[in-house]
């Protein structure tokens, strides 16, 4: 049984099942933080499924698997580090798991900052870090019925 989050719910950063959280709900949660009053900017990144793999093969679907316990630790560490950057008010980092079609959402990162300059930088750092550090794996299923 899914436990889909709604606007107004507190969304913690971490791993969620597909459709458990959406972007508007995440943004609503970010803005529920009282400290948001100190923010002049909210920057966001949304990772989605591309129709071609890095090698150029046509993708039919993409499955994300996650080691929740480790991935959540890693996500929380990234968020803790980002919050220490001067001018950063808050960050939310969500990675979804499950089976996804082309263009469906996989990742949400949202950073609230006092000014846009540090916000852009922090967002970039967060995205580059989650790509390397969180314990998730993707499996692309291709139109020719192969997978890797």
């Amino acid at each position: 049984m899914t436990n889909n989050k709604k606007k107004g719910d507190l969304i913690e950063s971490g791993i969620y099942k597909k459709n458990e959280v959406d972007f508007p709900t995440l943004m609503s949660s970010l803005k529920n933080n009282l400290k948001i009053r100190n923010a002049g900017a909210v920057l966001s990144f949304n990772g989605i499924v591309r129709e071609t793999s890095k090698e150029g093969k046509l993708v039919k679907s993409l499955t994300i698997d996650a080691y929740d316990e480790l991935a959540n630790k890693s996500i929380n560490q990234i968020c803790e580090d980002i919050r220490k950057i001067q001018g950063i008010i808050d960050i939310k980092l969500i990675h979804l798991k499950g089976k996804f079609k082309i263009s469906e959402d996989l990742v949400y990162v949202a950073v609230a900052s006092a000014h846009r300059e540090e916000g852009f930088k922090a967002l970039r750092i967060a995205v580059e870090r989650y790509k390397k550090e969180i314990e998730v794996w993707k499996r692309e299923e291709f139109l020719d019925d192969s997978a890797e």
Binding site: Y67, E135, V136
Partner: protein, 90 residues
């Protein structure tokens, strides 16, 4: 054992219990796994040396271990073990 990614695909399981004569170290678990799931050999071990590949991370009780000789890492009853492929997120 917890299985993720290709380990899950090959074993067709997300977890498995080894209750009887529990393996005393990672090396023993590797032998048991490869005997039960021969396809795991190519994923886990270097072809020439049979060492666990450097690209494989090993987690025990939800923490990554750092042991230059991972096969020797000892295991206790009820330990939770996972072999992890290189990360590839969305």
């Amino acid at each position: 054992m917890l299985y993720f990614a290709d380990f899950k695909t090959i074993t067709q399981k997300s977890e498995e219990y080894f209750n009887h004569n529990h393996p005393r170290n990672v090396g023993e678990i590797v032998k048991i796994l490869i005997k039960k799931y021969p396809q795991l050999k190519n994923i886990l071990l270097e072809a020439k040396t049979n060492k666990i590949k450097d690209t494989i991370s090993i987690a025990i009780n939800h923490s990554i271990i750092k042991n230059p000789n991972p096969r020797s890492e000892s295991l206790q009853k009820d330990d939770i073990l996972a072999f992890l492929l290189p990360i590839s997120g969305g």
